[in-house]
Symmetry: C2
Subunit: 193 residues, 2 copies
């Protein structure tokens, strides 16, 4: 995928990055529904045909940007102060704030819309936020270094549950208040009597 | 909302039901993206203008159908045999099967797409499946009649986590296998050491 000087349908890396960046910017500004290939091409300084040659649809562009960590990467880091309960609380509060902001809510809904459109986006979204992501890593560290989580705690499903609950909040635009955050932490860390 | 014999923009109950039913059928058959007001009107035997007079958008029609329990109601009943672990397993297996079917997956993605489009649909979707719904009722019964759940277990957040995890599965089209079901039940019922 390096730029070459040959002519023809060779994918230039510079153009590819420009197109992905333009798509990510426009996604945040306008939302998925209003995202048009023409606008992406114009902002990236390439022809529409260049985009159509490389990607089948706008959702495929978003999938590639997700895969490359151009969306969501920094926002989803879970802090590690050695106290999993406090760290999960800080993480949930930050995501709750993002989901309350107009831009964050737009991005969340745009990604969800792209995922309903394209199975690959769905898988990558799940991987990016629940699978091999920061949350699972933090939970695994809690098993190894803290006593809050049992050695056989189902890490993948805990991560999936938390991310899924956030998704549901994003869809219903409902605020994540302190009680809800406490409840979700309790679900994540276990509440068996 | 009863039918009347007066002329003018009175909402006839029969026409309203016919429109909602047509929308629900077409949603299942074609998906949200391909759902057109014109097709709804044609199947319901009303004019397009009748629909536009009563609803602002197709997502508003879906929201009303959701609210009236015309979508999702039967599918989401949680069995109550007195054993919450077995009942959650049966419920998750059934939803997992629905989500693997082409029609079920289409419906799930259609509802999610409608929710990204319209905050009201999002709230109603959340209420229908997580809020005052069958799952919370079943979990509350488990607190009262069984010893599996502590009296102060965060019912709302447990329901939200389970439904959210299912939503994430629907988006990523990934199979809900036995291990995942076991993991989710453990998250729901608590895993503190």
């Amino acid at each position: 995928m390096r730029a070459t000087t040959r002519s023809g349908p060779v994918r230039s890396e510079a153009a590819r990055r420009a197109i992905l960046s333009a798509a990510v910017e426009l996604l945040a500004e306008r939302g998925y529904d209003q995202l048009a290939i023409e606008a992406i091409a114009s902002r990236a300084g390439v022809g529409k045909q260049t985009i159509y040659r490389w990607w089948g649809s706008k959702s495929a562009i978003i999938a590639e940007a997700l895969l490359e960590g151009m969306i969501l990467r920094e926002r989803l880091d879970v802090p590690n102060t050695g106290d999993i309960r406090a760290d999960l609380g800080a993480w949930l509060r930050e995501i709750g704030d993002v989901l309350l902001s107009k831009q964050g809510q737009g991005l969340a809904r745009s990604l969800i819309a792209a995922a309903t459109d394209n199975a690959e986006v769905g898988q990558r979204l799940r991987d990016a936020i629940a699978g091999s992501g920061a949350l699972s890593t933090r939970l695994t560290a809690a098993i190894e270094n803290e006593s809050r989580l049992a050695a056989d705690a189902p890490i993948d499903e805990i991560a999936e549950s938390l991310v899924g609950a956030l998704l549901l909040r994003a869809l219903s635009r409902s605020q994540l208040d302190d009680d809800a955050i406490e409840g979700l932490i309790t679900v994540a860390l276990g509440h068996a009597g």
